[in-house]
């Protein structure tokens, strides 16, 4: 599988993400600096990592979403290339308009860094097809701005179109309808706040994130 991991100033999960992709999908991903204006055109995955791109200036993900590499990402997303945004990557994808809604400051105002319970909702996307419907998993979160917000009409649309990928099983950060991750209309762009790349081997305390990457492999096979 040919994957690219974007790297912004302030990204800090890019290397963990690259390790997870290499370990599960077999090949070392290309690391793409945010100032590149082109991406390889035969990619099977574009991964947008977590971190604090541009120091969260203005709004989390706002500056990264307008960086040089993003028009190429948007172009490939429109062509159907899978795009996975984790944590800050999710914030960047919403700011770039690839996903609906916005991620606001956590309702409790605190930075939250712990494992949370999640329930898989969508099992048809290229990221989630190896999970079972309503499967309960645990993944770590580490964020200050994870409070998913969208207007009621958008939330209804997301639910009706099976685009809520996963939900928290508890109120973690105030997210509307406990949404932890959403898909775009086509289903090839996923953004989520929890970190699947930090739960892929027993040494991590669990492997609940493994199938997110393994699903992508199955799609290609």
């Amino acid at each position: 599988m040919k994957a690219a991991v974007l790297v912004f100033p302030g990204s800090n999960c890019d290397r963990d993400l690259a390790v997870a992709i290499e370990k599960i999908c077999g090949n070392k991903p290309v690391m793409v600096w945010h100032q590149e204006s082109e991406l390889p055109d035969d990619l099977d995955l574009i991964a947008v990592p977590g971190g604090f791109s541009y120091g969260d200036y203005l709004r989390s993900g706002a500056m990264a979403a307008r960086s040089a590499v993003m028009p190429a990402v948007i172009k490939q997303a429109e062509r159907g290339v899978p795009v996975l945004g984790i944590c800050n990557g999710f914030q960047i994808l919403t700011e770039a308009g690839l996903l609906p809604g916005a991620l606001m400051r956590n309702a409790g105002l605190s930075f939250i860094c712990r494992n949370v319970g999640l329930e898989i909702q969508n099992t048809t996307s290229p990221f989630t097809r190896l999970y079972k419907k309503n499967q309960k998993i645990h993944l770590p979160v580490a964020h200050h701005d994870g409070n998913y917000t969208a207007d009621e009409a958008t939330l209804d649309q997301l639910e009706n179109e099976d685009r809520v990928a996963l939900r928290y099983t508890e109120n973690v950060n105030g997210s509307a309808r406990n949404i932890a991750g959403v898909l775009n209309k086509k289903g090839n762009v996923l953004g989520l706040m929890p970190h699947p790349e930090r739960m892929i081997e027993d040494a991590h305390g669990g492997k609940d994130g493994y199938n997110m990457f393994a699903s992508l492999m199955q799609v290609m096979a």
């Binding site: 203005l58 700011e95 400051r105 409070n147 917000t149 105030g174």
Partner: protein, 77 residues
């Protein structure tokens, strides 16, 4: 030319920071506060030939997130 851009949360969008500040004001003994909303002030120093339309585009494309925020442009001299 200078312009101040005031970015505020849209009505109906919950503002946890505003709520926390509201509680803190009450703890300090200020009892007459009904509600607090936190926004952002961005001061732009602009060439004189920058049009109103361009300032508005700046707001829509970057300075405000139109999903949750609205903006007001105030031109200062």
């Amino acid at each position: 030319m200078k312009a101040n851009v005031h970015v505020t949360l849209k009505n109906g969008v919950l503002d946890p920071q505003g709520k926390a500040i509201h509680h803190a004001l009450e703890r300090l003994g200020f009892s007459g506060v009904n509600n607090v909303r936190v926004g952002r002030l961005i001061e732009l120093d602009l060439d004189d030939n920058v049009s109103d339309q361009e300032i508005e585009d700046m707001c829509r494309k970057l300075l405000a997130n139109m999903v949750i925020e609205s903006f007001r442009i105030e031109k200062v001299a």
